[in-house]
């Protein structure tokens, strides 16, 4: 959700979708994303669509569950009216912001709205992100009781000076506690890490990875820090207060993470994601990379149905106004043509372990495969079996691989 919204066509007020977007919808997995745009403090590196209480311009956190539920009902009406099957949802994901800044009851109420509107498939994956210091044992139990199956903790690091550089406020000692509570509540656990923070050494990173592995989560995400324009972090680096991020060190850190995680029995399934087994991969996120359909609820949330992408008004106040007026909260949308969808398909599928089917590629892309094998970027064995899967080195250079695969698509 980073950065300004893309420039695109205006979105229609009624939100209706073209027939082309809904014809094959039954064959695709349907997910719902709910964006909770609130944080207690804004972290220096974050450019997500989130607001502290002082920035809300009259929008109220306590009204949010109600507004989100309104958009869920709007979504159902639009999909029905557009001829798409309205559910059930196979995955639901609460992201932010900090969803757990809202009372557990609000999150459960929002999930209830999804259930009422679309139904929730049996064995569905229902995740919320959480800050280690914004939940306790009771909250986690209430969430589990309310239908949540998985919690993803924003741990980021186990090293105090790294957490401080990121403006993270939680005590690293809290991680074992919250993971334990989540386990007791019966929730699957994912831990999120950030590496490449200014001042973070390879030894610091090894410490954080060790701390993660000590908790044996089902799932681990590890993201290289992105210094986004306009963030406090970018300003501090520009002013020389913090060291610039060194890409070579970040590459060393990625390699260390992959080594330690694989050693401990985890498997990568996306460039920045590892899981203990196929069952614990994030099915919701896989939907993004596989080109499935999802409805993104909440300010600034993005949606995708059958090659149509749209995104909501970013500010919670503007978002609320539109919903109150019975108008689609979407402010921009794009209908992808065939070539663009193909670009996105290759761009996204290359990132995941199941990869791209060689035979599905444009001739130019197929032609690039031998060179990618020679350069050690894609796995030779799986390529010969017909699928492109990135090697460790290839994952670090995934964007370059995508450019080479797509080199001739635009020409």
């Amino acid at each position: 959700m980073a950065g300004p919204l893309p420039i695109a066509d205006p979105a229609p007020a009624d939100g209706l979708l073209p027939a082309s977007a809904t014809t094959d919808a039954a064959s695709r997995v349907f997910g719902v994303y709910l964006h909770v745009p609130f944080c207690r403090v804004r972290c220096g590196y974050c450019d997500f669509n989130t607001y502290t209480s002082g920035e809300l311009r009259g929008a109220r956190q306590e009204d949010f569950a109600h507004q989100a539920a309104a958009e869920v009902r709007f979504a159902r009406d639009v999909l029905e009216a557009s001829g798409a099957p309205d559910g059930p949802a196979s995955t639901v994901f609460f992201g932010g912001g900090t969803p757990t800044l809202l009372p557990a009851a609000d999150l459960v109420r929002m999930l209830g709205a999804v259930r009422d509107a679309f139904g929730i498939a049996g064995g569905a994956e229902v995740t919320t992100e959480a800050n280690p210091d914004s939940v306790d044992a009771d909250d986690l139990r209430r969430l589990a009781d309310g239908g949540f199956t998985r919690v993803s903790f924003g741990m980021q690091s186990a090293v105090p000076h790294v957490l401080a550089a990121l403006d993270r406020t939680h005590d690293p000692m809290r991680i074992p506690l919250v993971v334990g509570w989540a386990r007791e509540a019966g929730l699957d656990v994912s831990l999120d890490l950030i590496y490449g923070t200014p001042g973070e050494s390879l030894a610091d990173w090894r410490t954080s990875l060790g701390a993660v592995l000590a908790e044996r989560p089902d799932h681990v995400s590890a993201y290289a820090l992105i210094v986004e324009d306009g963030t406090k972090l970018a300003r501090r680096i520009r002013r020389g207060e913090l060291a610039a991020v060194d890409d070579d060190l970040a590459a060393d850190m990625y390699e260390l993470a992959d080594e330690m995680l694989v050693e401990a029995g985890y498997e990568w399934y996306e460039v920045s994601n590892w899981a203990t087994d196929a069952a614990h991969r994030s099915r919701h996120n896989l939907g993004y990379w596989r080109g499935d359909d999802w409805w993104g609820v909440g300010p600034g949330a993005h949606s995708h149905v059958g090659g149509v992408r749209w995104w909501n008004a970013k500010h919670p106040a503007a978002y609320a106004e539109r919903l109150a007026a019975g108008v689609s909260p979407a402010v921009g949308r794009e209908s992808l043509d065939h070539a663009t969808r193909e670009t996105e398909r290759v761009l996204l599928a290359t990132r995941i372990r199941e990869g791209v089917e060689v035979s599905s590629l444009h001739a130019g892309g197929r032609h690039a495969v031998a060179g990618l094998i020679a350069d050690g970027l894609v796995d030779a064995r799986t390529a010969l079996a017909g699928r492109l899967t990135l090697t460790r080195r290839g994952r670090l250079l995934a964007d370059a691989v995508v450019r080479r695969l797509l080199e001739t698509v635009f020409e």
Binding site: M1, A8, A224, A251, Y288, H302, D375, L396, F410
Partner: protein, 623 residues
């Protein structure tokens, strides 16, 4: 207008005894154009309301940079008080000369059209090297010199000091040095009087076959070529057929006239007069500076002396930054050529820069003016390769090769001798900088010829130096080491044998032609280190390690390498990131069109440009 601005004498019917032809010799910013403006105003040829600053400088570039590139001639009336009787009107022809050494041939032809020269010197700065060079030329042409100090209204003016300096230089007393202000007009009337009194009238044979010397030739998009001439013998008339004596080509005079300062048709031009001809030709090459115009019906037997073909001294490759602009660049050069007889070019291809042109120039300023005009008048983004001079290479099998481009330098170690052009350089600077300047010249393989004090605190230092050393940022270095005080002039002084080698720059083993340079063997290593270092900073990391080498033939003399990029992946790519990521990919795709491939190495055009121009900015750490 002065009350003494006279009624003009009629051209073609003016007694040569009443004509005065003169030019103004001055350094770039010593106020020549401003003084000329005042003269136009005082003599009444330009009305007050039509006056604009630097009236005679037509090109924007000239007006902006305060320099005159193309000369022009203006006819002005001026009446002199007689001891008895009425005032006597005269016709003054002011011939504007280019001020820069690159155009020394044009300067010499302008001087040859005059009988006298105003030596104009800034009263706050004193004489500069180029002015000195042009003064020598004027004295060689036997011109009467009128020394003048300008800008005496400036608080920093030191007229006493510089009057002594001028008197020392040309003889006479400091009291003979006139003091004027082009800005306020102070002293300008006295100057006009002095011109009439001191400068001899032209002489020539009115009954001989017509002979007129071309001292300038200007392309006008509406009228074709306007040829400026100084009549020596005979007369030229409207509708007459004329012949160019160097080519024997004949044309009909469609219009003949004088500039005052707007072109004014006349019934002809007679002995000693200065004016213009229009024949309808479209290319200045058909009307060459220095050539003699005669009557086709009754041609002269001998042309006037002093004509030579312009000879390019400095060569550089000009390339469009956007390769698709190549046809526009060709068209632009074709158009520039119409107004610039000295510009030569031919197509050239470069691995690094694509399709472009190898161009020959009279000197560095000429190069700069042409590239600036291409940018400004034709809206072209272009890059110029490092300027090179002309080398004569003799191979062991006695073949001689003229090298204007390092890529033509014979390879394979069978070179018997390389000769390089040398110049006599004269540098004028305050005496405190002598040590610095000598150090610089010595480092550029200069040989000291002599040193002279000019006035109390300024020195003229003369060196023999390879032209190749001068074209490689010598002037910039000189200026920066002397706080801008030093001025430079140089003139060709033959050639010399030198131990020169070609240094190639290789990217992953592939030669990058735009960076090859012919340098002295002692400097090859320094050049290699400089260029490999620059490229290492400027070329983005690739998916593999890229060695950058400098080599003389097969021998590597310097080496750098660009480490392989290890990380090129967006860490997070979730629902809201996809559109942004795709747009980024499309942008990179567009960016790739501006990439040049050297073997497998992708090099942004900007990197080549920055390396050539020496702006070694840190490349973006992120791709």
């Amino acid at each position: 207008m002065s009350p003494r601005a006279a009624a003009p004498l009629v051209p073609a019917a003016t007694d040569p005894a009443l004509i005065r032809n003169f030019c103004i010799i001055a350094h770039i910013d010593h106020g020549k154009s401003t003084l000329a403006d005042r003269m136009l105003q005082i003599t009444g040829v330009v009305a007050e309301r039509d006056m604009r600053a630097q009236y005679l400088d037509r090109m924007d570039i000239e007006r902006e940079r305060g320099i005159t590139i193309k000369s022009q001639a203006v006819r002005m009336p001026w009446a002199l008080r007689q001891a008895e009787g009425p005032e006597q009107p005269y016709a003054l022809n002011m011939i504007d000369t280019p001020g820069h050494v690159d155009f020394s041939y044009e300067v010499s032809r302008s001087l040859a059209a005059c009988e006298g020269a105003i030596l104009l010197v800034d009263a706050a700065q004193g004489i500069e090297a180029q002015t000195l060079a042009n003064l020598y030329l004027a004295l060689e042409n036997d011109l009467e010199i009128i020394p003048v100090l300008n800008k005496i209204d400036l608080p920093a003016a030191e007229p006493e000091k510089y009057a002594r300096e001028l008197a020392d230089l040309i003889g006479g007393s400091p009291d003979d040095v006139l003091r004027v202000s082009g800005k306020t007009g102070m002293g300008v009337e006295d100057l006009l009087d002095r011109v009439v009194e001191r400068i001899p009238a032209p002489t020539g044979n009115a009954d001989a076959p017509a002979r007129a010397m071309i001292f300038d030739s200007v392309y006008d998009s509406y009228r074709g070529v306007v040829t400026y001439v100084r009549m020596v013998d005979g007369q030229l008339n409207p509708r007459e057929r004329i012949q160019m004596m160097s080519t024997k080509a004949t044309h009909e005079i469609l219009e003949i006239g004088v500039s005052s300062p707007e072109p004014t048709p006349t019934k002809g031009l007679g002995v000693g007069e200065v004016g213009y001809l229009i024949t309808g030709v479209k290319d200045v090459r058909q009307s060459k500076v220095g050539d003699t115009v005669t009557s086709a019906a009754k041609p002269a037997a001998e042309p006037l002396a002093g004509y030579t073909e312009p000879l390019p001294m400095v060569f550089s490759g000009l390339y469009p930054i956007d390769g698709s602009d190549y046809p526009e660049l060709r068209e632009a050069l074709d158009k520039l050529k119409l107004s610039d007889a000295a510009l030569v070019y031919e197509p050239e291809t470069s691995v690094a820069l694509g399709f472009g042109f190898r161009c020959g120039f009279l000197g560095l300023l000429h190069l700069e003016i042409v590239t600036e005009r291409l940018r400004r008048e034709f809206d072209l983004d272009i890059i110029a390769t490092a300027p090179s001079v002309v080398y004569e290479v003799t191979t062991e099998d006695k073949k001689s090769v003229t090298v204007t481009n390092p890529s033509e330098f014979p390879t394979g170690g069978k070179i018997a001798e390389v000769r390089e052009p040398i110049v006599k350089a004269a540098i004028l600077a305050p005496k405190d900088y002598v040590g610095t300047i000598m150090e610089l010249c010595q480092s550029r393989r200069g040989t000291l010829l002599g040193m002279e004090y000019l006035g109390e605190d300024r020195v003229e230092i003369r060196y023999n130096m390879p032209l190749g050393e001068i074209v490689f940022d010598f002037f910039d270095n000189l200026k920066s080491k002397t706080a801008g005080y030093a001025s430079l002039d140089y003139e060709p002084a033959g050639d010399q044998a030198a131990d020169l080698v070609k240094v190639d720059i290789l990217l992953q083993g592939e030669q990058v032609d735009a960076f090859s340079a012919i340098v002295h063997r002692d400097k090859a290593y320094a050049y290699g280190v400089l260029m490999t270092g620059r490229l290492r900073e400027l070329i983005p990391r690739q998916q593999f390690e890229v060695p950058i080498q400098a080599a003389i033939g097969a021998r590597i003399i310097a080496r750098e390498s660009i480490r392989a990029i290890r990380k090129d992946v967006l860490a997070k790519c979730y629902g809201g990131d996809i559109t942004r990521k795709r747009k980024l990919l499309e942008k990179q795709k567009e960016g790739k069109k501006r990439m040049k491939m050297v073997g497998r190495v992708e090099v942004p055009q900007e990197a080549f440009i920055a390396a050539l121009s020496g702006e070694t900015e840190k490349k973006d750490a992120k791709k």
